[in-house]
């Protein structure tokens, strides 16, 4: 960075990360992250899982033993796991555009799921 100066140690790490990310933006590098086998520290930034169907994290279609006895229960437990990065089996408000704060009062889904309210336009 030429104009803003990193002052403390964390800021220096942020600056290094920004520079690293800028280097990594060649299109050829933007592959399907979930299928890469390189170790995490060599990957292109944060790892976004591509969902149940690719990595088969047990959840809505089968439990960890491959059966159906231990499916997501209670369902609200999985809201953050599933509706942001994966398949959530019901309509939820559009958090990217219209209702970014929809879950802001729900720090822990298991405890606070009652605070998830309907959206009245």
């Amino acid at each position: 960075m030429k104009h803003i100066k990193a002052v403390n140690q964390k800021a220096a790490r942020i600056e290094a990360w920004v520079a690293y990310e800028a280097e990594q933006t060649q299109p050829a590098e933007l592959d399907v992250v979930g299928l890469e086998s390189r170790p995490p520290h060599e990957q292109n930034g944060p790892h976004f899982p591509l969902g149940c169907s690719l990595v088969f994290s047990p959840g809505w279609e089968a439990d960890s033993a491959g059966g159906t006895a231990g499916l997501c229960q209670p369902v609200e437990r999985d809201i953050f796991d599933c509706h942001l990065s994966c398949f959530w089996p019901a309509h939820v408000p559009d958090q990217l555009n219209h209702s970014p704060d929809w879950t802001s009062t729900c720090a822990s889904a298991q405890k606070d799921w009652r605070k998830l309210d309907l959206i009245f336009p």
């Binding site: 960075m1 803003i4 403390n8 140690q9 964390k10 970014p100 704060d101 822990s108």
Partner: protein
């Protein structure tokens, strides 16, 4: 990177940070990363313009193009986007991360309550006073920790500090020196066992100084035991609340002993730990007495933990007064630091170290994770303040940690669960604060300490200003906080 996704027609807005100024220079304390960035003319102007409300990127540039070159503005906007000081108005807020510490996280500090008996009866004591959570008088806990339990505790620490070269044992009480024989045996045993395991153990203790004798002082110095003295200040202050069971003040007993200790014990710094109450609030007088007249190298001051209705509980005006006096000492500290000189106000030093590293805490402290307390019977609790409390016990030195109970504790006390903290800029440093304070105030250790919010934010802001001044005028002083 991020800049490439912002097109000229998109609207920019400020994101989450806390600005502070030192000598006319603006700095941003980024939240929640805790990075600190120094602004310049163009970045100041951009932040000021967006401070009045979100703007389309082209409009922003038009507005400022009279003052600055357009390329300079574009570069600066990109940099501000990169550090997330500004961004697209519709970008969702960063979620508070809720990742838990990895399994097998090492224990680095163990606080051994070698006794729960005390020869003083300080009015405000959280262990014996009105706010106690364990029946230390008639309860089931033994009054003294047995030598065997202390040895088992050492084994527990060696096992649980896996992967660490150094581990710490702090002896605590009650009055720690009432169980001096066990201290001696434990230090010798721990040294031998640590050497066998290829580790090093460091020791420290807290005492009220009433029982210091020449042979104890010799032993502390020879064994390089760090010593913290609980003391409240000059005679009239100390004798007000730090009294013997018969009500007699303790100043005249401890003063010569402390001076003797400070004269003889030079192998580790010796600090004073002051409890401030509504009845002793003259921070400056206390500090001067303990450093200049007594000779302490460092003095740390902390407000008493108690419920609001006690007559020694600090009122909100009292907190303002305390903060103002802390501010005076903090400025003195800065003057010394600018000249590479020592100043003994340890409260500033501790906060500055965290600011320098940019710590962004998931928990208010290390209790129940890197730090644990051991009660006299060997039960392991979150920290020494909860020693002996069944509700806060997470295992024992013989049976190990109950991982389910510890796991539940780590979920309940994580910053992600403290919704009240999610809009506070000071959360990287505070993270909700002391669990014991919360337990006394709200009846549950997982509650954020909302009664200290204003105080914590003001104090953190003061320390940020000091940090900015040092970074600008004497940056090499900050090297001591590296590592």
């Amino acid at each position: 990177m991020n800049s490439s996704v912002i097109t000229d027609s998109e609207t920019l807005a400020l994101r989450e940070f806390h600005p502070f100024k030192t000598d006319g220079v603006t700095y941003l304390y980024m939240v929640p990363s805790a990075g600190i960035f120094r602004m310049d003319g163009p970045s100041d102007a951009i932040l000021e313009a967006l401070g009045k409300g979100p703007k389309v990127k082209t409009e922003l540039i038009n507005e400022l193009s009279g003052q600055f070159n357009i390329d300079l503005l574009l570069e600066t906007i990109d940099e501000l986007i990169e550090i997330r000081a500004i961004g697209d108005i519709d970008a969702p807020k960063d979620l508070v991360p809720n990742d838990l510490p990895p399994v097998g996280f090492p224990l680095t500090t163990m606080v051994l309550n070698v006794t729960n008996k005390c020869n003083l009866a300080c009015t405000y004591c959280y262990e014996y006073g009105e706010d106690k959570i364990v029946d230390t008088k008639y309860g089931n806990q033994p009054k003294f920790m047995a030598e065997e339990t202390a040895k088992e505790s050492v084994e527990f620490l060696l096992e649980e500090s896996r992967g660490q070269d150094v581990a710490h044992i702090t002896f605590f009480g009650g009055e720690t020196l009432l169980n001096f024989p066990v201290l001696q045996d434990t230090v010798a045993y721990a040294r031998r066992r640590a050497a066998e395991e290829g580790k090093r153990i460091e020791f420290s203790l807290t005492t009220n100084a009433t029982l210091l004798r020449p042979e104890i002082i010799e032993w502390l110095a020879d064994n390089q035991i760090g010593v913290t003295i609980s003391i409240d200040g000059p005679k009239e202050v100390q004798d007000g609340l730090r009294v013997f069971h018969n009500g007699k003040g303790s100043y005249d007993v401890v003063e010569p002993k402390i001076k003797e200790l400070l004269k003889r014990h030079k192998t580790r710094p010796i600090g004073a730990r002051v409890t401030l109450t509504q009845k002793n609030m003259d921070v400056l007088k206390i500090f001067r007495h303990l450093t200049e007249e007594m000779g302490f190298w460092e003095v740390g001051l902390a407000p008493v933990t108690t419920q609001d209705q006690r007559d020694y509980a600090i009122t909100s005006e009292g907190k303002d007064d305390m903060l103002e006096q802390f501010g005076v000492l903090a400025q003195e500290w800065l003057e010394c630091a600018l000249n590479d000189e020592h100043h003994g106000f340890s409260n500033v030093k501790d906060t500055l170290e965290e600011i320098h590293k940019g710590v962004s805490k998931a928990y208010g402290c290390g209790a129940g994770l890197g730090l644990m307390g051991v009660a006299t019977d060997g039960d392991v609790s979150l920290c020494h303040r909860f020693a002996g409390s069944p509700e806060h016990t997470i295992g024992s030195v013989t049976d190990g940690i109950d991982r389910d109970k510890q796991g539940k504790f780590l979920v309940d006390h994580h910053i992600a669960s403290k919704t009240d903290c999610h809009t506070c800029w000071a959360r990287p440093i505070c993270s909700g604060g002391c669990y014991h304070e919360a337990h006394v105030q709200y009846g549950t250790s997982s509650h954020p300490n909302l009664h200290y919010c204003t105080w914590v934010r003001s104090w953190t802001h003061t320390c940020l200003e000091i940090y900015g001044a040092l970074a600008e005028k004497n940056p090499k002083f900050l090297n001591r906080f590296d590592a």
